[in-house]
């Protein structure tokens, strides 16, 4: 069992290295980011932050219950040790969340979250289950159809946050639900597909990118419109802010699509990710980053799409 966890640490360190960050730097960065995001969430959402926080923790934990992974663990360990591994993994993963909840003096939720983590260590789910989740995005696969199925359990929560923001008259909560939605949509474009899926296209690099952007914007509007309409009706004085958030979200979605192909078929590297984050903190920066990503994408796609 000890060897298993040593191997997990080695694998994690390799992920950091592949990402372009030395592990010795990566751990403090992760702690800083985690604390920063947690503080931001609690600052903005106040009493509702703990729900969002617990939801993020549980959805992270649920990944460990995937059937294939657990079949592998069961084949490696005897029954008692298998459950120990699951329990230790779940406890370690949920620990930072619990520590922050305790720091915020939400003791009740810290206990609840730990109990959920314990229960989840006994639960296995089949990611390739025979049940197919229906999606409205089947006509234009694959980013939204695959992404929607992977994150379908998050949608009710996001739309519930919008509803709650209206019920308690808290615009920040509603704006957060819109931002959370777009962050999730950006994530649909975070993984590079096999180059075969670009190679098959009978399109020039420019048409390929434009086609991807059109699909992204169309589906992005469909998913964000219910939130925007609801918020506009109930917080009509904020209509300009809502509109600019949606426009900004769509623009960052477009940038995510273009940035994804800027290193294609390689994964997006650290400098590109830094540029994306910078453009989020300082929106005018997008006027530089977007054309840069676009020209790089055209260059990279040219090698794949041109005969």
């Amino acid at each position: 069992m000890k060897e298993y966890f040593q191997l997990r640490i080695k694998m994690l360190n390799r992920h950091f290295k592949d990402f372009g960050v030395e592990p010795i730097l990566a751990y403090p960065i992760v702690i800083l980011l985690f604390t920063g995001i947690s503080t931001f969430l609690y600052g903005k959402l106040q009493e509702y932050a703990v729900f969002v926080y617990c939801f993020i923790a549980i959805s992270t934990l649920s990944k460990l219950g995937e059937k294939k992974r657990n079949d592998f663990l069961k084949s490696c360990f005897i029954k008692r040790n298998y459950f120990k591994v699951r329990w230790i993994e779940n406890s370690l993963l949920v620990l930072p969340f619990i520590l922050y909840i305790l720091y915020q003096k939400d003791f009740f939720y810290a206990v609840i979250l730990y109990l959920i983590a314990l229960v989840l260590s006994f639960i296995i789910y089949n990611a390739t289950a025979s049940f197919t989740i229906p999606t409205p995005f089947s006509k234009k696969p694959f980013e939204f159809s695959v992404g929607f199925r992977n994150t379908c359990y998050i949608y009710p929560f996001i739309y519930w946050l919008t509803y709650k923001s209206i019920e308690v008259n808290n615009f920040n909560l509603g704006a957060f639900s819109l931002i959370a939605l777009f962050f999730m949509l950006l994530n649909y474009y975070s993984k590079i597909e096999d180059s075969y899926y670009a190679w098959i296209y009978k399109k020039s690099p420019k048409d390929f990118i434009v086609n991807k952007i059109k699909t992204g914007i169309r589906y992005g509007i469909i998913l964000s419109l219910p939130i925007c309409i609801a918020l506009s009706v109930f917080f009509d004085t904020y209509i300009l802010i809502i509109f600019s958030f949606q426009l900004g979200g769509l623009f960052y979605l477009t940038q995510a699509i273009v940035a994804k192909y800027s290193m294609f078929p390689e994964e997006v590297n650290i400098p590109i990710r830094v540029l994306i984050v910078m453009s989020m903190f300082f929106p005018p920066f997008i006027l530089i980053t977007f054309p840069y990503f676009y020209s790089k994408s055209i260059e990279k796609l040219n090698a794949v799409l041109n005969d």
Binding site: T128, P141, D194, I200, K202, D307
Partner: protein, 219 residues
């Protein structure tokens, strides 16, 4: 239709393909035989324009847009259904997809996730998709691998049909008998070079070549 001249490919210091010369004509079926690592897949990827190489490949303009490439192991997204996979490949070639049920020749469960398919079903799905793209050139890398006998017969029939339609088909396989059934020419690839070529009209030579190859592999 495709003329390959002095094609060579290196991965670092490893020479994978060495001065390949080959002419491929429309309406013919070509077989490429070779042991694992002999360079078959690399050759296919070079023809498809998925790899950089030294040498020259003369083809029709934008051949990539009319080429159906069945990879040895096709990659499938984790939550994409068979129907969506076919839709994606047809969208990519701007091909409108109508009556997909009628064209589902292998009776695949199209509304299930492709990752839940068996190895053979995945192969059949990928093959169905490239057939529905309406390509004029087909590269089939190990199309019979993991496929049941009944589907094997259907695939063989399909290949014959493609030939009748004037398509160019290039196949690799370890099942020599299937190649003998379908191919007009079979080329033996060894250490990145073609070392032998046999024609359909000289079937006796072909089986000799196959036996010869077996003996060499096991010695």
């Amino acid at each position: 239709m495709i003329k390959i001249q002095n094609l060579s490919k290196k991965y670092g210091k490893i020479q994978v393909l060495n001065t390949i010369n080959l002419e491929l004509e429309r309406g013919k079926i070509y077989g490429i035989v070779g042991e694992n690592g002999s360079g078959k897949t690399t050759l296919f990827r070079c023809i498809a324009g998925m790899e950089k190489y030294n040498g020259k490949i003369d083809t029709i303009q934008n051949m990539k847009d009319y080429l159906g490439f069945l990879e040895t192991e096709s990659y499938f997204f984790s939550k994409i259904t068979g129907r969506e996979y076919i839709q994606l490949l047809c969208n990519a070639r701007e091909k409108e997809l109508v009556n997909i049920e009628e064209k589902n020749i292998f009776d695949l469960p199209l509304d299930k996730y492709a990752t839940a398919y068996s190895t053979g079903m995945k192969k059949k799905l990928a093959l169905t998709a490239i057939l529905l793209q309406g390509n004029s050139v087909f590269i089939l890398d190990e199309p019979f691998n993991g496929v049941d006998i009944q589907s094997n017969i259907i695939i063989t029939e399909l290949i014959h049909k493609l030939k009748e339609l004037g398509k160019l088909v290039i196949i690799s396989s370890h099942i020599f008998s299937t190649l003998a059934d379908t191919c007009d020419e079979i080329h033996l690839l060894e250490n990145g070079s073609f070392v032998k070529k046999v024609f359909k009209e000289r079937e006796f030579d072909l089986s000799n070549a196959v036996i010869w190859q077996h003996i060499r592999y096991f010695n």
